[in-house]
Amino acid sequence: MSSDEVKKKTIEDKLTTIKYNCDSESHLVLDAQLCKNCESRCCTYICPAKVYTYDENQNTINVDYENCLECGACKIACPYGAIDWKYPKAGHGVIYKQS
């Protein structure tokens, strides 16, 4: 593998290195009303797994909870406390092997 392959990886590339046992329902629930009026939408950029993306047409936030690394950053960063942040059910979510 060349050095270029280590460099310039996107988050999507990085996430493929991680093992998950996905739950069938989201452990992250947003208060849609608060999000509609949120001007910063910082969840969409601070998340190391890009779990949150903004849907411009509907003015809503999509939550790809399957990719969540359970770090807790969004819970603290969201200025409106709009995220009901829980851990996934026991045995679900991220499974680190070499971290």
Partner: protein
Amino acid sequence: MEEFQTQRFDVIVVGAGPAGVAAAVTSARGGAKVLLVERSEIAGTKNMIGGAVFLSALKEVFPDNWHQAPLERYINKHTWSLLSDNSSVDVSCDFPLKPKSASIFRSKFDSWLVSQAKKEGVYFAPSTLVKRLIKKNGYYCGIETELERIEAKVIIIADGVNSLLACQHGFRYDYDAKDTVLSIKETVKLSKEIIEERFNITKGSNNGAARNFLGGLKSENTPFALGFMYTYSDSVSIGLGVNLEDLRRYALNPSDLLEKLKEHPVVAPLLQGGEMLEYSAHLIPEGGFKKLPKLCENGVMIAGDAAGFVNAIHFEGTNFAFISGKFAGETALAALKINDCSKRTLKLYEKKLKQSFILKDLKSYKDVMENLYSRTNSLMNYYPKKAAEFFEIFSGANCISKRDEFRNFIVNFIKDRSIRELFKDLAAFISSIFGVLK
């Protein structure tokens, strides 16, 4: 898991990291019946470290068999680098015969910790998420999992930095973004030979190296961030801890910043040819002394990251976790002995913390992070750049008279930065040093 429901325990410990395991084995060694509860199926698979475990604390909890722990490499070589855009000025130290820490993978290391705890009589409940604590008559007396309720005389909360339990039961508030560091890391596969060569490690030895990087992120709005690398047997970590408030304020993504660090001309050759094995993320609490939670209540104590026991300047966390867990275990035993688990008895835990390095260090470092943070631009941009300029003259043979070069350097040093800013830097520096020593 139902097997535990009908049993009554002396102690329940939530979280099987270093703090939880230390609390559990210490209680079990004193004869208590202990249940250790962990949400992951295999201990350590939810956890990440930069990172290295401090051996002094590991030995304190496992004096006889610590060397059997799955340690990757003994970290005896440390290099701190000030990175400017294209160069690096380093300070290094090397203690080849006196390793203080060892690099670990949490999945292997935490699993080993749990296997030792089980050998010493601790009951272990994996795949068990604690949803809340049970409180009766003003006393915490059990846990509620997804499936059942289990009771005990003492509960020890060691559920890590996010401690939903501590927040939920009012032991502390959630941390502010400015007191929180988001760390991300990549584990990168490289051959043993390449690691030994690039990090100047004796061939065939299990010695290793750690590197820290300040600056070098080439960003208009520079966040407060520290890069790190650790060597494992046949891989290395490359990661970055960034202040969460800065990420939010400057609208930055942590992974993009790490890519910048990886591209830095001093860092890139260390990673060249490597294959990414795993990406991970974790928070580090940096509120320290100013954000201490209630450390005990009737029937309950809080240890490790859950209580914010981290000294970020020295990358110390595992030692705080192991030792605070041990103190909590000892206190539980003392309380069980006199059959009084009230807050008054459990205050012994606070006393032990106060008399040890844990609260002493947190107290003396209470302003250091804030001081450094207030000088972000100096630390991340100005001084790395100036250090590079100085050594470019010092080592450059640029065919210009040294006198002119150094004069220019000094004039620019003052011109590029107002005297006021220089004084502010100096004041922050002195205040930090005095804070620690006074």
